[in-house]
Subunit: 359 residues, 2 copies
């Protein structure tokens, strides 16, 4: 896979992933974990996937509490490439900070933002899609990668795909984004064939992103550029930045303004939003238990689903289908694949009960 | 409740209870555990229940590996009342040994054999039934307690109840015993009203039991009497005793010979054969999780069933009905109430896998 000239990868590494509790915790979030049994964390896999495209042109933006762990996991990276947010302020601030720094560093840069906790099972397809997106982005589009839906998911927002771009037949105009739909609407989208999942992956020239931001949030863009000009301002200015997702701050209004393009992508993408999607991702053998961790500890009798074996104890499951068992040293979760989204309720209850230490 | 003159309680304390794995193990069997949340083990509750009837007239027969634990739990008992079988040889040998010792010690004794791992929720009803049974036993009957069936169980054998005894209207003749039936047959038994569950509780004069045994197994009865006369023979003779249940060795042929009586009993009896019956026993609040152990550790969301909390970890269950979760330091079980009987398959597999240490 050829290197993509001047492409920088900006990797926001944040989000506790409460639906993957007790595996993922605020103190040890999802991206630091090996969730695929590969021996590499999701963050490491993200960097591995991008290295052939960007060589060492990375900026990782993470929370202050996680900076040391991120640097330890990415030992091949220059530690100055790992930026610490003083506090979590959503994706516009994190990715915008990367854009502002890159705008000063390399006027020809194209940046791609790729979350640290997603999975892509076809890295070649990913590389090809990013290459096309970077070409489109050089023509000053805000380019999003549009994941081909494999089922009528209600967990993702959708990208409406318009006409192909005249100069870039691999890309399409985006007339608009739509929020997470109902099942009925998701099924219509799937049938229509002109909707793509919004995975929050954007490829764009840093100046284009900041200029677009300046159209709707001029102070925000100014503040980011001030921090980039004088990083000593970070601590003071950061807490005053708006807490808003890049999608709402820029992508949605830019789509209405005809500035957004999408490159359709089929590359085995998943954001591992809950234990159901993790089961789906790992499932080798339908009708059996899938094990993440030490398989030799697990004894299944007439059972299917997912077991996360994290303590070395023997785990036996008898007569349960689509079960989810997550065994960690201080907390145990038992649920079903169907109810996997409701795991966040446990996290809420633990916090309400004064047991935030476990979340 | 008045003391019953000359009544001795013989308590066979054996059986690993593989269907209650991983709570009950070969090294730490069911009767040593507090399964009711009372703070007392099943063995201790058995002794507590009998003490008003027999005062200190106990003989506990247990396996050599458990003798120390039994003595420790029954600190009010003279340690010489706790006999150790050199090896497990089924109930006829264990109870027969008690009978042979008592026959020499007290010619007027009546003995009752009561397993160490059963539950009785109405001890007053139990006491009254035993009192009647002892009176009948003094007239040289082999008396069994016949538990009124509360549902068409296929887990127990049944006692056929014949005519009331002329001299003891509270007791009935037993024309025969029947093995564990099919569901259909169990339903017929329930409807007929003349069948009782066989809980393996017998009340009998020791000499009567041994003389009955001598009718069908003369050598066996001789050997037991030899051991009682010279306890130093125990180690050598014990391994040569037949491995047979008291029901088969004596009760069934004695019923055919017209020597068995039954006292009907409704006293909240359960043998806690698996986690389903344990759930049923503990169930305070239908539609919620029942917890044995530290309830403050358990977070249930839309769930019902049983959680055994044995490690201090947080255990959360989300969206599962009639679930069974048993959390112990070295082994975790997740199953359903419906499949509770199949837990023994896990134990078999662990033994086959060379992990008998966990069973």
């Amino acid at each position: 896979m050829p290197v993509i000239h001047n492409l920088w990868a900006v990797i926001p590494a944040g989000g506790a992933g409460t639906r993957l509790w007790p595996l993922s915790r605020a103190a040890s979030p999802k991206f630091l974990h090996d969730l695929t049994g590969s021996g590499r964390s999701l963050l490491q896999e993200t960097v591995d996937r991008l290295t052939p495209l960007v060589e060492d042109r990375f900026l990782v933006v993470t929370g202050t509490p996680h900076r040391a762990a991120v640097i330890a996991q990415l030992s091949a990276l220059d530690p100055t490439a790992v930026l610490a947010e003083p506090s979590p302020r959503d994706s516009m601030a994190a990715i915008g900070l990367g854009a502002a720094l890159l705008e000063r560093r390399d006027p020809d840069a194209v940046m791609g933002s790729f979350a640290a906790d997603h999975v892509v099972t076809d890295p070649d397809a990913f590389g090809e899609v990013v290459r096309i997106a970077a070409e489109v982005a050089r023509d000053n589009w805000l380019v999003t990668l549009g994941i081909e839906p494999t089922h009528p998911s209600t967990a993702f927002g959708y990208i409406r795909m318009g006409e192909p771009l005249a100069e870039h037949p691999g890309a399409h105009a985006v007339p608009g984004f739509v929020e997470k739909p109902s099942v009925d609407v998701a099924e219509q989208y799937l049938a229509a064939g002109t909707y793509r999942w919004n995975a929050g992956m954007f490829v764009v020239r840093p100046a284009v992103l900041l200029d677009l931001l300046a159209q709707w949030h001029p102070d925000f863009a100014d503040q980011l550029r001030q921090i980039a000009a004088d990083p000593s301002l970070l601590e003071d200015v950061w807490p005053t930045l708006p807490k808003i997702a890049l999608d709402h701050a820029v992508a949605e209004p830019a789509a209405e303004a005809g500035r957004v393009a999408v490159v359709p992508a089929a590359m085995g993408w998943d954001d591992i939003g809950d234990f159901d999607s993790l089961s789906h991702l790992l499932e080798a053998d339908l009708g059996h238990l899938t094990v993440l961790g030490e398989g030799s500890c697990v004894r299944g009798v007439d059972s299917s689903g997912l077991v996360v074996a994290g303590t070395g104890r023997v785990i036996s499951v008898v007569g349960l289908d689509d079960i989810v068992v997550v065994d960690t040293p201080d907390a145990l979760l038992v649920t079903s694949r169907e109810r996997a989204q409701d795991v966040k309720q446990v996290v809420s209850r633990l916090r309400a009960d004064g047991r935030a230490d476990l979340t």
